[in-house]
């Protein structure tokens, strides 16, 4: 990497973009115009909704009592509203009190229902014929007797305190007729409901004073509220915490997309990409230069939008009741900090996607799918009740929005606890996206792609006819994704039992392995490869004298890694506690009789999954991925698939680490048997350790190895350190094995040597 070249490319791309009117418009002019326009229309719309009155039909109004009044001057009484002028929001129309000949009141109500349904009125309110009369009788009755409130909470109170309560006459209920199918009707309902509630209270107060009681008797106390956010000047934090992160993600994405398309597809279209590719600039330098350009534009877009929206928002909010204040300065700082990784991720993603496109037009098509993927991820964290957990802290895009939300809500502890996985995952995604983009630039099929008519049948036939001894990288990735998808549906569709039994466990393990792992792997292997033996690293070429030793080495490695895995897993579980399901299984393992455990469960949990998973992940997937020519990348991606297939995130983390070790054993030994041996021993030890607890309690003399620490069985620190050193020694032995490189790996090595030679100041030809 020559930084001077990156800087040079960056400077050129920025100048190029600044000379492009389209880009400038999208990034600078649009937000500056858009938000004031939005603000203006907001005003227009709010005026409209604020003043639009709803039409209400009132039936049986003439017989309403005069005191306290419900209706004054053909409107509801002004004192029944929050502010008197809101009475104008309800336009009343009164049904005639005289019933048309031959019709009953029921007919009138039925007609009102039809009219509300048809939209002639937004709502109707119906007071039964004898409503006023009964109300008056109620008032007289309650005034005549001493009304007492019986205290249900004091059944032991002296009987003398209890006074008999004569039943008061019942009042028929007024009815509000509305429909939730219509928004205007809902608004009318809300108004009517609150008016009636207030009037109801007013009637109650009048009755109380008629009975000689103070009006406050009906409402002995008022509730006072204290909003800490308001006091600390943090008002509206919740609102901004939900809005701003999503907006930030959207701005960063759109800000990255258009320059990315212009920088890649646009250059292809204009024919300047080949000029650049035949210059001494390296692919990584070109990608980095373009990436930083896109990132700058993405960040500029987001910042300009933030400023423009903030300014417009400030202008608008000044004219509104102070329900939502401006976001605090601290939250702005956090937004800017979070913008860097968000912009980096989207820029890399857009760059990689944009390289695929042959023309800017084709490039624009890719915005929609990208948005469709990113939008739900950005919006998910704003769903009420969804909180940051370890699981969703590993979901790209969503995790940053979650973290930002926590920060903006002032929840520093949550943010701190999950900062590591969020930042880690974002960095991993950035790195992968950048690598993907560099890879795309190295692929001549991507750079010089010609349009070809798609014919799925022909394509599948060719895939089968031209299959190679081992799967291709794409096939390996497909297998990984396929396994995950099947596993997902399998988990969603299979019910979780209340208690674990041996029978259930046996059935579940065998069916899962068969459906999720074995069938897809075998099917893909026999359909897409010529040599299953080579694919599974079990053919004659895989048998070398070192294999037997490698099996022993793998077993030893599994044994010495066991305490480390247990310690790491416990650490992970402490940070991110496990659910009840996983703990239930542990309980069950302890209660099963020893012979059943030894001869049924241990093989079932220790051996079956180990063998099946090795065929899939180190067999098919790793063999395919090694055609990428990058040994470590193949190992890590296979391990990630292996980890993800464990589905419980705490397990996935540990499984991915173990997967890297097994992948390394696979590559170095060139045979699947050591991998299976490692996996079987590793799984069996993990299953067995849960059984050992009762035994260890009886043998305190052995607690220096494995003892209860904080309620759990843990290996002591000296044991873990010793095992770590032994594991290092065994891995060094594996590293010395002469591993068999794939042709792609040999080529990549030659290319790497070429680049290294080029990095030296005085390069001499190597003929």
């Amino acid at each position: 990497m020559r930084w001077s070249n990156v800087k040079l490319i960056l400077a050129r791309e920025i100048r190029d973009q600044l000379r492009d009117r389209r880009t400038l418009f999208m990034i600078v002019v649009l937000p500056l115009l858009l938000y004031p326009l939005l603000g203006m229309s907001f005003f227009q719309i709010s005026q409209f909704t604020g003043q639009h009155a709803t039409q209400v039909l009132v039936i049986g109004a003439r017989s309403l009592p005069v005191n306290p009044p419900l209706i004054e001057n053909n409107r509801f009484a002004a004192n029944l509203f929050n502010t008197p002028d809101r009475a104008r929001l309800l336009d009343l129309e009164f049904a005639s009190d005289e019933l048309p000949p031959g019709e009953t009141l029921d007919d009138v109500v039925r007609q009102a229902r039809e009219q509300v349904e048809a939209g002639t009125y937004d709502a109707a309110i119906y007071f039964p014929a004898d409503f006023a009369e009964r109300l008056e009788r109620f008032r007289q009755a309650s005034a005549a007797q001493d009304v007492a409130v019986e205290d249900a909470h004091e059944p032991s109170a002296p009987a003398a305190n209890k006074r008999s309560v004569k039943a008061l006459p019942e009042i028929p209920r007024p009815e509000i007729i509305y429909t939730t199918a219509n928004e205007q009707s809902q608004i009318a309902f809300a108004h009517l409901f609150s008016v009636l509630r207030r009037w109801n209270e007013a009637v109650g107060r009048t009755n109380l004073s008629a009975a000689g009681l103070p009006p406050a008797a009906a409402r002995p106390f008022e509730i006072q509220t204290a909003d800490l956010a308001e006091e600390s000047g943090n008002a509206g934090a919740g609102f901004w915490a939900r809005l701003l992160p999503v907006m930030l993600v959207l701005w960063a994405l759109t800000g990255a997309f258009y320059p990315a398309v212009d920088l890649c597809a646009g250059e292809k279209e204009r024919g300047t990409l080949e000029t650049l590719l035949s210059s001494p600039a390296r692919r990584s330098e070109i990608v980095l230069g373009k990436l930083v350009t896109i990132m700058l534009f993405s960040m500029t877009t987001a910042i300009l939008n933030l400023v423009a929206m903030g300014f417009t928002g400030w202008l608008v909010l000044r004219h509104l009741p102070p329900a939502v204040g401006m976001p605090s300065l601290v939250s702005i700082v956090w937004l800017l900090v979070a913008l860097v990784p968000v912009a980096a991720l989207f820029s890399a993603l857009c760059l990689a996607v944009a390289v695929l496109a042959r023309s800017t037009k084709e490039g624009q098509y890719y915005l929609m799918p990208l948005m469709l993927v990113c939008l739900p991820l950005a919006i998910l964290p704003t769903t009420p009740g969804v909180e940051l957990t370890l699981g969703n802290s590993l979901v790209p895009v969503a995790n940053v929005v979650f973290l930002l939300r926590a920060l903006l809500e002032g929840d520093g502890w949550t943010a701190l606890r999950f900062a590591a996985p969020v930042i880690g995952m974002t960095l991993v995604c950035c790195f992968l996206a950048v690598r993907w983009a560099v890879d795309q630039f190295n692929q001549e099929t991507v750079l010089f792609r010609e349009s070809e008519r798609l014919d799925v049948v022909l394509w599948l036939r060719r895939l089968f006819r031209e299959r190679q001894p081992t799967p291709s990288v794409a096939m390996a990735l497909f297998a990984g994704v396929l396994i995950l998808v099947i596993k997902f549906f399998f988990i969603v569709m299979s019910p979780v039992p209340d208690t674990f039994t041996v029978g259930y466990l046996a059935k579940s393990v065998i069916v899962t392995q068969l459906v999720v792992i074995v069938v897809p792997t075998l099917l893909l292997t026999f359909l897409l490869t010529r040599s299953p033996g080579r694919t599974f690293m079990l053919d004659h070429a895989s048998w070398r004298p070192s294999v037997a030793l490698a099996v022993l080495g793998a077993i030893a490695l599994a044994v010495v890694l066991h305490p480390i895995v247990v310690t790491v897993a416990a650490g992970v579980a402490k940070l991110y506690p496990l659910g009840d399901d996983a703990q239930g299984l542990g309980h069950m393992l302890q209660q099963i009789p020893t012979p059943v455990f030894l001869f049924v469960l241990l093989p079932l949990l220790g051996v079956v999954p180990a063998v099946c998973e090795e065929f899939a992940f180190r067999g098919f997937i790793l063999s395919g991925l090694r055609h990428s020519g990058k040994k470590w990348r193949a190992i890590v991606i296979a391990a990630i698939f292996f980890g993800l297939a464990h589905f419980i995130f705490q397990q996935s983390l540990v499984a991915t680490m173990v997967g890297v070790v097994i992948g390394y054993i696979a590559v170095q030994s060139g045979n699947l048997l050591p991998c299976i041996a490692f996996h079987v021993v590793h799984n069996s030890l993990l299953v067995a350790v849960s059984r050992v607890a009762p035994v260890m309690e009886k043998l305190p003399s052995l607690n220096w190895i494995l003892g209860p620490t904080g309620g759990e069985l843990m290996y002591s620190l000296p044991v873990v350190i010793t095992c770590g050193m032994l594991a290092g020694m065994i891995l060094t032995w594996f590293a010395r094995l002469p591993y068999q490189k794939t042709p792609e790996e040999r080529l990549q090595e030659a290319i790497r040597r070429g680049i290294e030679a080029d990095d030296e100041p005085l390069a001499t030809p190597v003929a």
């Binding site: 001077s4 070249n5 040079l8 490319i9 050129r12 100048r15 190029d16 000379r19 492009d20 204009r270 024919g271 300047t272 080949e274 000029t275 590719l277 035949s278 210059s279 001494p280 600039a281 390296r282 001549e444 750079l447 010089f448 070809e452 008519r453 798609l454 014919d455 022909l458 394509w459 060719r462 080529l747 030659a750 290319i751 040597r753 070429g754 680049i755 030679a757 080029d758 390069a763 030809p765 190597v766 003929a767």
Partner: protein
Amino acid sequence: MIEVEGLTKHYSDLRRGRLVAVDGISFRARPAEIFGLLGPNGAGKTTTLRILSTVLKPTAGRAAINGYDVLTQAAQVRRQIGFMSANTAVYDRMTAWETVEYFGRLHGIEGTALRNRMEAIFDRLQMNDFRDLLGAKMSTGMKQKVSVARSIVHDPPVLIFDEATAGLDVLAARALLKTVAELRDQGKCILYSTHIMREAEKLCDRVAILHRGKLLAEGGLDELRARHGEPDLEELFFQLIQNHDATVEATA
């Protein structure tokens, strides 16, 4: 010095299956020599030159430029060559001066050295009157000149020109051919691909005739004329292609 040995390039095509664009060709171009790569459209010229410019990877065989392998030492190869083809366009939103300066700096030439070199090139190619014109506003001839300037700004020992005169009028084409000849006289090794026989006759010291990915003939112009008993290069070219097609049909 360009060495090509058994160079092969396959493309995979959904309908036609494996497409052989270049089929095991071998040739050598030496310094102070213009080596012409002649062939009709679709002969595999552009694919060959793209492999030499490291933009495409060969399926089999080997190619080296001044001893650097195009596959494993791509960066070194790109520093040895100046590559200009119909597919290497000029930036629309950059002026002639900026474009040439940009590529000069990518090659690691800076400051006054670059400036002096560029002034010399701009004088020689008579580019001073459109020095500050944006690429989008240039005529085809101007663009072609900028491309030449861009490909020689770092003074590379090997130059690769693919259909360099395509779209140029007679005057501009003559001027370009003169420049190429001057570059040869400076000792550059030049690979010049064209399908215009007149150009090849005037310019090339040696030629190779490429058809359907196969090398039909290779040698000095006089040598080829003598070998095939045909004084006119165009006739010779036509005969070779016809004979080849006839044999292919006969075997099929």
